[in-house]
Structures are given as structure tokens and as C-alpha cells.
Symmetry: C2
Subunit: 135 residues, 2 copies
């Protein structure tokens, strides 16, 4: 058993990151999944709620109450698609964009802090490796 499990290493770091994110998200009034939704919406336009659910790895049935909350909070809008009235197009409001930007900024600051033990080169390689390995 010469090296540690990749899974165990990822799990440990993941837990650290999530613990550090929680107070930031709380302060911004966002859940982890709410943040995932806003991030994905800012990334590029998305057609259906099902596509959104799949993109962030969330179940479509759980997505409904989450979108309800985000809509009530004025962070996004849901509108029936004129070309297919079953579908709803989802769009960030200006407030949603602003909230996302503030949250992402605080999270990146936290992450840089957490990454401080690494050299610039190690940090760069870490992000390259993770990006290359994701599906």
C-alpha cells in the first residue's frame, strides 16, 4: 500500500473547502446548491430546468423548490418559453449576478488562503490536473 487513496485525499480536502464555504454562503444568504445554480447560469445560457439539473448533478425534482426560493429572493426569473410552452427559460436578474459575483469573490479569496501552502507552480498544476480529470 504504497500511496494514499486519491478518493480519501479528495474527500478530506473537499470537507475542508465545504466547511470554509459555509459561513461565506450563509452570509450571502445562499445554499451550496443555490450557489451552484447561479454559477451555472452565469456560465452560459441553458434551455431547460432538466438540463440545468443535469449540469450541476442535481435531481430535477429537488431543483423546483430551490428555484422557487431563488426566484422569490429576486435572484433569477422563470419565464415560459414562447416556442415550447412546457419549458421555462431561466435567467439571472441583475441582483442575481451581483450576488453571485460577491459570493464568488469571497470564495476565491478563501480558496487562495487555503492554497497558500502551495507554490505558484504547484497551484497551477493542481488546477490543470483537476480540470483535465473532470468528466
Amino acid at each position: 500500500m504504497e500511496r494514499e487513496d486519491l478518493g480519501a485525499l479528495l474527500a478530506q480536502l473537499m470537507r475542508r473547502v465545504m466547511e470554509a464555504e459555509r459561513p461565506i454562503l450563509d452570509a450571502q444568504g445562499l445554499s451550496m446548491w443555490g450557489y451552484a445554480v447561479l454559477s451555472r447560469l452565469a456560465d452560459q445560457p441553458i434551455q431547460t430546468q432538466q438540463a440545468l439539473a443535469k449540469a450541476i448533478g442535481y435531481d430535477k425534482s429537488r431543483l423546483i423548490p430551490l428555484l422557487d426560493t431563488l426566484e422569490q429572493d429576486g435572484l433569477l426569473t422563470r419565464q415560459p418559453d414562447p416556442t415550447d410552452r412546457r419549458a421555462h427559460t431561466i435567467a439571472l436578474t441583475p441582483e442575481g449576478t451581483a450576488r453571485l459575483k460577491a459570493t464568488k469573490s469571497a470564495i476565491h479569496t478563501m480558496e487562495e488562503d487555503l492554497l497558500a501552502p502551495l507554490t505558484a507552480s504547484q497551484k497551477q498544476t493542481l488546477f490543470i490536473a483537476l480540470s483535465r480529470l473532470k468528466p
Copy 2:
């Protein structure tokens, strides 16, 4: 928003790893947490169940039925500590050690396969970085 979130990258890779581990663990008749327990026990001796729970990030109350199963499967033994009869010392059986070894070997093979897109140097840096960042 110049770079991706570390948390999102970790989550995506974590999901991939866990999906790839599931069939291996199923074939070995182990749950994810059962594997975590065996791994930790093989690492170095541990005094109390509470210490074990904390070490793997599991709740002490949930640990009980998990240890029950592993004990029934003949993979570990629980014996009252003679010096403190409240405490139980936990030890891997030879079968537990063998099962762990076979599982870890299969998981590492899978991981190497998954890590194939990286150069040897990137792979090495990834493990160094993850090890350095864990708590």
C-alpha cells in the same frame, strides 16, 4: 471570474471517483465507510471507537451498526480493553487485512486508469498538493 472554483472541480472529480469505486466495493462486499474503517485500522492502531469515528469523519453513533456488520463478516474483532472496560479495542482479522488489500489494489488500479490523462510529473504534483492541503 477568471478561474473555476476549487470546490466545484473537487466535487466533479470526487463524483467520478466514487462512481468508479462503487462496483469495486460492491464486488468486495464493502460499503464506502466500511472501506474507510478497514483502511484506517490498517494504518496504525487506534484506541477507542470514538477516535476511529473522528479519524474517518463519521459519527460515533452511526459507527456501531457499521462495526457490527464488519464484525459479523469476520473482518474485524471488538474486544473489551482490559485496562478500561468501557473501551473496546478493534483489530483487523487476517481476512479483514486480505479483503482490504484486494480492495485497495483494485481501487488503485482504477485510479491509475483515471489518472492516465496526466503526465507523471502532473500526477506526482497532484498527490503532493492534495496531501499538503488536507487538514
